[in-house]
Symmetry: C2
Subunit: 131 residues, 2 copies
Amino acid sequence: MKRNTWQREAVREALDGTDGFISAQALHSSLHATGSPIGLATVYRALSDLSEQGEADSLQSPDGESLYRACSTTGHHHHLICRNCGLTVEIGAEPVETWAQQVASEHGFTQAAHVVDVFGLCANCTRLAAV
Amino acid sequence: MKRNTWQREAVREALDGTDGFISAQALHSSLHATGSPIGLATVYRALSDLSEQGEADSLQSPDGESLYRACSTTGHHHHLICRNCGLTVEIGAEPVETWAQQVASEHGFTQAAHVVDVFGLCANCTRLAAV
DNA sequence: AGGCTATTGATAATGATTGTCAAAACCACG
DNA sequence: CGTGGTTTTGACAATCATTATCAATAGCCT
């Protein structure tokens, strides 16, 4: 059975209060900074639970870390991420969904899953970078 | 200056002779299996070099390993990968390219890059899995 | 309240990747 | 064909994120 603990709740809230993606390590530090004695292993467990239950999304940073994010929509969606400031926009991707399915079946593949993330510079960072 | 060594050549050839993506570790084992005394660190270095020079593509497997592949086309393309046997098909993704650009600009993002990979089970593995 | 069991957390273990550094290999050049 | 200066190699240690271990704790049901 699934039990409710303050630790899990703390992780959920910390995620909610964070803009963009954050690593398990960073989230743990952040919690410690606010005085929470939560353990690192617990943060990892809570995050992978949340991710499994669809309450959080996860992706891998270019250098191999797993990053997590609390997502407002529970359905399937993708992300548009500013590579400079981390700002993240949730985006639907209907055209991509159908395209992925089609390409997969064209080649005889089944159980197609896909990784689709768009990295760029948000309007703000674009302006700053132009200077 | 960049020097040519048989080790670098060996890594390049091993990559060429491999279907689909392969991890640095696996490539190293594979080389050892053929009698090559090449060192693990060297394989890592050679792979990251090849990847930087655009002679190889790299991506991260769902469990965080870095995988490499020699790609036939040097242009921009994506991959359809069998998550069981590693079989890989290079796919163009025109619809996705335009979609990504469009979504990015809709949100004021510039310099949009994207990660698009489709994982599934190839026809063969699908059949095996059905048993 | 009592008991059963899931969860926690400190720490060890794992596993991929990168750093270190002396020895060996490469590449002009004479 | 040697020689010298540098790059590259490779064995091994170090790092870093993540996962496993396991006794102690804390939830939840009755």
